[in-house]
Subunit: 202 residues, 2 copies
């Protein structure tokens, strides 16, 4: 069992509550997501409670869920953008002023936690580092392995607007007008073969 001290607050809630929220949404206490909790917590403190911040995250793995769970920003409401750079970093920013704050995992600060470093750099097989051990190290490390910087956004700061839609003459579904006269799927880029039968499964 990982020791979860209840006197630690993260993102305005007791740490144990945050860990349960993570497990409930993400399916398990993914170490990257627990580290992400501390990152969001730090970014929120730096940007301050008065700013209704938008978010940008520099990896697809785990970290987007930390933002979705502990800020109002989600992928579906358009307040969070995801960059597929595999950098474990996130920024919160005021889209009006373009001022914000970037938080990232600092490799130098990770050196005192060699197992954490090896996990982070994908140098150790899962079976050699049990989840409970890794989570214990992350809870101990917390903010100590993070760095932060005030930033001014230079791109990606505007919210993505909905564009026009057309009706595809082949499938008769609405689709993004900028993608041509017929939809992507009917252009041959679909991901499925359809069957007449309604019954699915095996």
């Amino acid at each position: 069992m990982v020791h979860e001290p209840d006197n630690i607050m993260t993102c305005g809630k007791p740490l144990g509550t945050c860990l349960r929220i993570i497990e409930n949404f993400h399916g398990w206490k993914a170490p990257g997501l627990v580290l992400g909790l501390f990152m969001v917590d730090l970014a929120q403190e730096l940007i301050g409670p008065q700013v209704e911040a938008d978010a940008i995250v520099e990896t697809c793995h785990c970290l987007p869920d930390a933002i979705q769970l502990f800020t109002p920003c989600t992928v579906g409401n358009g307040w969070m953008k995801i960059l597929d750079w595999d950098k474990f970093a996130l920024s919160l920013y005021d889209r009006r002023t373009k001022h914000g704050c970037r938080v990232w995992v600092d490799l130098e600060k990770m050196r005192p936690y060699p197992k954490l470093y090896k996990w982070y750099m994908r140098l150790i097989p899962k079976k050699e580092l049990p989840l409970d051990v890794l989570l214990g190290i992350i809870l101990e490390a917390g903010r100590h392995v993070l760095s932060s910087q005030a930033i001014t956004m230079t791109q990606f700061h505007d919210r993505v607007k909905k564009t026009g839609i057309n009706v595809c003459p082949v499938c008769n579904e609405a689709f993004k007008a900028t993608q041509g006269s017929i939809c992507r799927a009917c252009q041959g880029n679909g991901y499925y073969e359809g069957h007449r039968a309604k019954v699915v499964g095996n």
Copy 2:
């Protein structure tokens, strides 16, 4: 106030509970997300409770949050993929058998609900269709405006594996190894200017 009959169950929960979950996560009862709730509910029923399904969604707007809230699939755990096609459609599938089910908004079935149709086709300004009215129509329409089909996945069915990472010699952060010898941000594609000061905000 929208009438939310408590005897209707969606995704295994009373409808009113689902609407509160939506509002809590997404920030408001976005009509697209409420429609998405009925889509996930139908897809889950068709694929059956025995399948631990992965998900694919064909728009960035609203619908990804319905999947994240009412299935185990999230953007951060990698079980949900998002296609930026602006098609209001989703599929749940068994990644082992590649069999699944696609659910989409059927324009023909929407004709009996002219206000819903106009909203969906982005033909009516927000101020001419109050949210409560629109939500009432969506709750009345429910599955009646949806179509579904059994499918076999032909691409995007495998989970995205984590790839190798390198340390960028400029910023000293880890990044996706396939993106070059230095990271995207240090290549000049970053989204921010950094400042020395730690104080952010206005």
